[in-house]
């Protein structure tokens, strides 16, 4: 069954909503009342429900199976959190409601902030950033503001970024007006400390580093790196996308971090929702704390208050209101459910599971680096050499086996990278089933069953889609067929 676009299903006059009669009033629309039709389709509620139920069934989801997207941390999303986020005391609260009426929501923000600070060993947190990349922006802006406050705003224009960094890191640095200076990796997949030190100087504003890094490895020299950067007056921005690997076991504050965003949707399991919303609170060192964006929460005698106006050094406002409240309540429920013990256990299990996959697949696939990984296992495409099967083909063949592919071609420092992150949410049975499928596929590739890969997926709602065509001739919206256009 093909599901038509909603625009192809509608009929004029029909609606899935009933509203009371509109009282007759004299229009005050200032002569700007809309004249023509908007062009929206009309559907009844049963049609709308069916449309979206049918569409949903063409998606893969963590609730359907293992979702091994490295660096994305697709873990279980507890339904309790969905329930609590919908309590009217949070969900039906206006962001500009009198502060005397919003105490409960501010308390959630305050308690969440406390957990984040304790877990990271950092003294402050900015809650407002709306996603990970927004958090990076917040951190780099705080760093910039600190340099400006020291009178070094004009001189510190360079930010060091490892080659293996998430694309958002260089994008953020550049967006903030900095020059991006790439730092090479060692053969074992970590930052080249010597090369890094060689790049340090009085024009360095900061280093942006992911740790555990995008190769799934812990940066052993992390404290030396922090020390070296601090030594030249720079700050250490840590990309917290991989915090899931160490939460409860290692505190970034103990590593010399000055700012780190936390993807609540990764480490603390607010649902990814097909691409957001996320939430990217940023923990800050004492040096950076004064520059945090508005608004923020303060605690006094166990009660919490929202500060919307500040005469101090805040670098400004990153978004209109109070951050991703709907994500805060979910993340807090997740944290309280795990507790200090459970969060550490989750990190341990995530690391154990990734190492288990690495250990069980290394004889048929090629692990990119030796030694233990953290929460994700990185393979390269050497095992596909001369098979005629690419990393992409291999990934698409996983779809036919009922799995979402792993992250492909990232990190860039590894050829044909395959980055597998099982997370702590998978049972051993589930891991074993996945491993068995991956082994079968690897063996099939080497046995020359090329068609199985190059033609994949065969059993998905769609065969391979033509992305080149989409980009060459962009069709970004539905337009009515010609006769209807003529009638307009």
């Amino acid at each position: 069954h093909e599901e038509a676009l909603i625009f192809e299903q509608g009929q004029a006059g029909r609606s899935g909503v009933d509203l009371p009669e509109v009282p007759a009033v004299t229009s005050r629309l200032g002569n700007l009342a809309r004249k023509g039709p908007i062009g929206l389709p009309g559907l009844s509620e049963p049609q709308v429900v069916r449309h979206y139920v049918r569409l949903s069934r063409r998606n893969y989801a963590i609730d359907m199976g293992l979702y091994p997207l490295g660096s994305c941390t697709m873990k279980h999303n507890p339904r309790l959190n969905e329930k609590l986020a919908r309590l009217p005391g949070f969900a039906d609260l206006h962001p500009l409601a009198p502060l005397s009426t919003t105490e409960g929501a501010v308390e959630v923000m305050g308690v969440l902030a406390h957990w984040l600070k304790v877990l990271t060993g950092m003294p402050a947190v900015a809650l407002t950033p709306k996603a990970g990349a927004h958090g990076e922006l917040c951190g780099i802006m705080a760093i910039r503001a600190a340099h400006v406050a020291r009178g070094e705003g004009e001189t510190r224009k360079r930010i060091l970024v490892p080659e293996s960094a998430h694309g958002t890191n260089p994008a953020t640095a550049a967006y903030c007006g900095f020059t991006v200076d790439p730092v090479p990796a060692t053969a074992e997949g970590r930052v080249d400390l010597a090369a890094l030190k060689a790049k340090l100087g009085p024009d360095v504003a900061a280093i942006m580093l992911t740790n555990p890094n995008t190769c799934g490895l812990f940066e052993r020299d992390i404290r030396e790196i922090a020390e070296a950067v601090h030594g030249v007056g720079g700050y250490f921005y840590c990309d917290g996308a991989n915090f899931n690997a160490i939460v409860g076991r290692v505190r970034p504050g103990d590593l010399g971090v000055d700012a780190m965003h936390i993807n609540l949707h990764k480490t603390f399991s607010t649902p990814h929702g097909g691409g957001g919303p996320g939430a990217g609170p940023v923990v800050l060192s004492a040096a950076l704390a004064p520059f945090a964006p508005l608004p923020w929460v303060v605690e006094k005698d166990g009660r919490f208050a929202l500060v919307e106006d500040d005469k101090g050094q805040s670098f400004g406002r990153m978004a209109a209101f109070n951050g991703q409240m709907g994500m805060f309540s979910r993340a807090l429920a997740y944290m309280m459910s795990h507790g200090a013990d459970g969060l550490a256990q989750a990190a341990s299990d995530a690391v154990l599971s990734a190492n288990y996959i690495q250990a069980r697949l290394s004889d048929v696939m090629t692990a990119a680096f030796d030694g233990p990984c953290m929460h994700e296992a990185l393979f390269d495409d050497r095992f596909l050499k001369d098979t005629g099967v690419t990393t992409l083909d291999f990934a698409k063949a996983m779809i036919d086996e009922g799995y979402h592919p792993m992250t492909m071609y990232f990190p860039l420092v590894v050829h044909g990278a395959m980055l597998i992150e099982p997370t702590e949410s998978e049972s051993k049975e589930s891991l074993d089933e996945f491993i068995a499928v991956m082994r079968r596929l690897a063996e099939a590739a080497r046995a020359g069953e090329v068609d199985r890969f190059t033609g994949a997926p065969h059993y998905a709602p769609r065969r391979r889609l033509d992305e080149t065509l989409a980009a060459r001739k962009p069709v970004l919206r539905w337009t009515p067929p010609a006769p209807a256009q003529a009638a307009e």
């Binding site: 899935g16 005050r28 990814h272 154990l352 539905w478």
Partner: protein, 448 residues
């Protein structure tokens, strides 16, 4: 630990397969001094019932719009969201999926994004729209950045009647690039033509429609003047339902239209997550920030959808990206598109008309309170009153009477005495005539 499937036996077997003596051994790359020897100083894990009790107790401290008569607006609006919306967005396949990077198994998400983009383009009267931004304010700031890129100019003119938070977000970002921001003074009684503020170095003019005080202004002439000077006109819409009643910004000549989509499907949520709408002329499409979904075909020729033009985006372009935005508001865009699909053309038009009618009734009722002056000639569902005294304490007086009576000027323009006696008031379909009458009565009492 209800969320963790591994048992002690599992862990032992897995360690054996790895050949590691313990899980601690897997953390051996962490400098020893940085490894915690025990749990951090936070409570231990709790059962679901205990967590629910604790967080529900916090929620119960709020006096929310469901138990108070709410007339709050100024950038966020309370509309009734059909129950089907929340049901559908909680489908596992929507809620627990990732960004649709594997289109063959993400057609559900991709098709609704394509439909969403179409709806936003239709509502705003623009040619193209993206797959969402964080919220209206960040969308607006991104539009300014885009105007800088498109024009290569570094001067930005902001209407004084642009929501002050939006202006602040723009200024915060603009500071990064040394952009000159000309912020006009707020004009509670309505703002004059900004054509005179545009010069040859201007990248864009940003106006709001309806503006933060509720005025509805025709920007057709301004658009011509702005474009005549080689700049772009950016129109921000904070109440998307207004577009069911008003001439769309595209028809007035806007180059970029940004909006806050929270009013449809998403709800109040104390400010987030919200939904940034972003629409533009087609010629600017490769300068747009954010994800785009496009139509294509699969290997057998069937229609399908993919994320496209990602050469603009950070995960491909890195430091050359048009924005650093990555995760956006996927699930909120789903809620929006479902709500709008339910409404349809007829429903949205009626909803907008009902909002307007309620606001007219409210404006007439409040303007009749002694000492209260209505500042608007025109408005959609929101308007501004000048009170005979400071508005903030009046609002507290109304709270005591069970009414969330509007946003006082001092909340939005702190420290500006000219704003102290202003009250911005909104009405939607959720306000009954009885509530409106009660509000007028209570305001008279508080002011007496």
């Amino acid at each position: 630990m209800r969320y963790l499937p591994l048992t002690g036996d599992d862990r032992a077997e897995m360690l054996a397969a790895i050949g590691a003596p313990s899980v601690d051994d897997l953390f051996r790359d962490v400098p020893e001094a940085a490894r915690l020897s025990g749990p951090v100083d936070l409570p231990r894990h709790l059962g679901e019932f205990e967590v629910e009790q604790a967080i529900s107790a916090m929620a119960a401290k709020s006096r929310h719009s469901g138990v108070m008569a709410s007339f709050l607006g100024a950038g966020a609006y309370r509309h009734h969201i059909p129950a089907a919306v929340d049901h559908l967005i909680q489908r596992s396949e929507f809620l627990t999926s990732y960004t649709p990077y594997q289109p063959e198994i993400a057609q559900g998400t991709l098709q609704y994004l394509f439909e969403f983009q179409t709806q936003v383009a239709l509502l705003t009267g623009m040619e193209v729209a993206n797959a969402s931004m964080y919220d209206g304010s960040t969308a607006c700031a991104e539009a300014v950045e885009m105007a800088r890129r498109v024009t290569g100019r570094h001067r930005v003119v902001l209407s004084g009647n642009l929501h002050p938070h939006y202006a602040e977000v723009i200024r915060t970002l603009a500071a990064l690039h040394g952009t000159e921001v000309v912020s006009k003074p707020a004009a509670p009684g309505g703002e004059g033509d900004l054509s005179g503020d545009v010069d040859g170095g201007t990248a864009c003019v940003v106006v709001q429609y309806p503006d933060v005080f509720g005025h509805v202004t025709d920007f057709t002439a301004l658009a011509k003047a702005v474009q005549g000077a080689g700049a772009l006109l950016i129109v921000a819409v904070t109440e998307v339902v207004a577009l069911g009643a008003l001439v769309p910004p595209g028809a007035m000549g806007a180059d970029i239209v940004v909006g806050e989509g929270q009013g449809l499907g998403v709800g109040l949520q104390y400010g987030g997550p919200y939904l940034g709408l972003f629409a533009a002329r087609a010629k600017f499409v490769r300068q747009m920030p954010g994800r785009l979904c496009g139509e294509t075909v699969d290997a057998t020729g069937r229609r399908g959808f993919v994320l496209t033009l990602s050469t603009r985006e950070q995960h491909i372009r890195r430091e050359k990206a048009t924005s650093n935005i990555c995760t956006n508001s996927g699930l909120c865009s789903l809620a929006f598109t479902i709500h709008l699909s339910l409404l349809g053309e007829a429903g949205l038009v009626k909803l907008a008309a009902l909002n307007h009618a309620r606001a007219v009734t409210l404006a007439d009722a409040l303007a009749g309170v002694p000492g209260v002056k209505l500042l608007n000639q025109s408005f959609f569902n929101e308007f501004t009153l000048r009170l005979p005294k400071a508005a903030a304490p009046v609002v507290e007086g109304l709270v005591a009477r069970g009414i969330l009576g509007g946003v006082p000027g001092a909340r939005l323009w702190p420290g500006d005495p000219a704003a102290d006696d202003l009250l911005i008031v909104a009405a939607t379909e959720t306000n009954s005539e009885a509530e409106i009458a009660a509000f007028a009565k209570a305001l008279a009492e508080v002011l007496a």
